[in-house]
């Protein structure tokens, strides 16, 4: 197998893959869907390489991935029940969170619409400013704020609702 030289376009994409993998997984519901989105995105990036203007490759690729996710992912989930499976074996610098907490957060995230989830993950995972999110998604900054707000409220509600059930269960 040939490994592309770091200075080539392919080499630069290769170097971005680990963090792109994290972002694609943060948008999707399963490891398989995350890898699929990553693969679709890289294919698109390679065929559209002529459109890249030579600045901020990472931002350009993230926008392509986000648009692929927004435009085509609905209803594509096949393995909705395989959630965060491989993450258990992955080396992480942080101590593993309580599995129950993880499952609840995962469930809350999966209840978000694509539009809301994309805004949230660009801010939280990618550290985008609200202005950068607006530019990447081509939406007004007011829309960014309202989506972010709705996403956060929805997650909080889901986590709270789960709490009530959890408290009632051990009877």
């Amino acid at each position: 197998m040939k490994i592309p030289a770091p200075e080539t376009f392919e080499g630069q994409i290769l170097a971005l893959l680990p963090s792109l993998r994290r972002y694609s997984r943060s948008l999707t519901r399963s490891d398989a869907d995350g890898e699929d989105l990553l693969q679709d995105c890289v294919e698109k990036v390679l065929t559209r390489r002529g459109q890249w203007r030579g600045l901020n490759l990472r931002g350009w690729v993230l926008t392509i991935m986000t648009n692929l996710y927004r435009n085509g992912r609905r209803g594509k989930t096949r393995d909705g029940l395989i959630e965060l499976d491989a993450a258990e074996d992955m080396a992480s610098s942080e101590p593993p969170a309580d599995p129950l907490e993880r499952a609840r957060l995962d469930d809350a995230l999966n209840s978000l619409s694509e539009e809301h989830r994309a805004v949230l993950m660009l801010v939280v995972i990618e550290g985008y400013t609200y202005g950068e999110v607006a530019a990447a998604l081509d939406i007004p900054i007011g829309t960014v704020m309202s989506r972010l707000s709705r996403a956060r409220r929805r997650i909080a509600e889901r986590l709270k609702a789960d709490n009530i059930i959890t408290l009632r269960r051990p009877k």
Binding site: K2, R22, L46, T47, A87, S92, S93, T129
Partner: protein, 260 residues
């Protein structure tokens, strides 16, 4: 609203929680939050969400051995030479057409057929799986107890030096055996594996006619899933009626073990 903070909006609170405010503005929000416990609790909850989300996905930021295959362009034929080939073919067709229009269409179809190498691989893998995985008594020609012989024999037929049969034991799949079968009209190898539950999967190896490399691809037909890839002179396909996630792990394991 607090008179010293006449215009703290929800947007300000989000920006504060996300660390997107300059130092001076932060102090203003902190003063506001000190006087407004409800908002302070909300902001704290958002920050906790942020932390939980980040730690949930942090583990995914890692490279895989198969990553270089992902950045191989889907069609690694240089577009220049391809265009030239089509132009040349068109010229021949045109010239022949002038003599006899009858042979034109047949000549036009030929290049299409040659391009389809990486598309026929998953189909052949699915067929082989459907036919042999269902065989109870004769799923393979040579069983795993003769593994060394199987490797030498198929290696010789495929002209692969030191063909190594992937070991999938760590993933719970034991080698059943292997057989010779045609892949794109040339000798190819099929290896079959089985787990404790009796689920089978097959690994197909075939000679690739045009020296080309593709990324990992996925094909699905009913419940049968196939991962396939072409690595230089050889094409590989991993097929099974098991979860796509398991199959992906098998494919990655095979990729690691097959010589590149």
């Amino acid at each position: 609203m607090n008179e010293t903070n006449p215009s703290v909006t929800e947007a300000d609170l989000h920006a504060y929680a996300d660390g997107q405010l300059p130092e001076t503005a932060r102090a203003r929000i902190e003063a506001f939050l000190a006087d407004n416990p409800d908002e302070a609790a909300m902001v704290a909850a958002w920050q906790a969400q942020n932390g939980a989300i980040r730690s949930m996905f942090a583990g995914y930021e890692q490279a895989k051995d198969t990553d270089p295959l992902l950045v191989v362009p889907p069609r690694a034929i240089p577009s220049g030479s391809k265009r030239w080939a089509i132009a040349a073919a068109a010229l021949v067709v045109f010239a022949l057409g002038a003599v006899s229009g009858h042979y034109g269409p047949a000549l036009l179809e030929k290049p299409e057929l040659q391009l389809a190498g990486d598309e026929t691989l998953p189909k052949q893998a699915e067929t082989a799986f459907a036919v042999y995985a269902a065989e109870v008594r004769h799923p393979v020609e040579v069983f795993a107890d003769e593994e060394a012989h199987l490797a030498t024999w198929l290696g010789k037929r495929l002209a692969i030096q030191h063909l190594k049969i992937p070991n999938l034991q760590p993933l719970g799949f034991k080698l059943v055996g292997g057989r010779l079968l045609p892949v794109d009209g040339r000798p190819g190898a099929m290896f079959m594996y089985e787990n404790q539950a009796g689920e089978r999967l097959t690994v197909l190896v075939g000679r690739n006619t045009d020296n080309r490399t593709t990324s990992f691809r996925f094909a699905s037909s009913g419940n049968v899933e196939t991962f396939y890839w072409i690595d230089g002179e050889l094409g590989y396909a991993v097929t099974g009626e098991i979860s796509r996630e398991t199959l992906r792990k098998v494919a990655e394991e095979c990729y690691k073990q097959f010589p590149s």
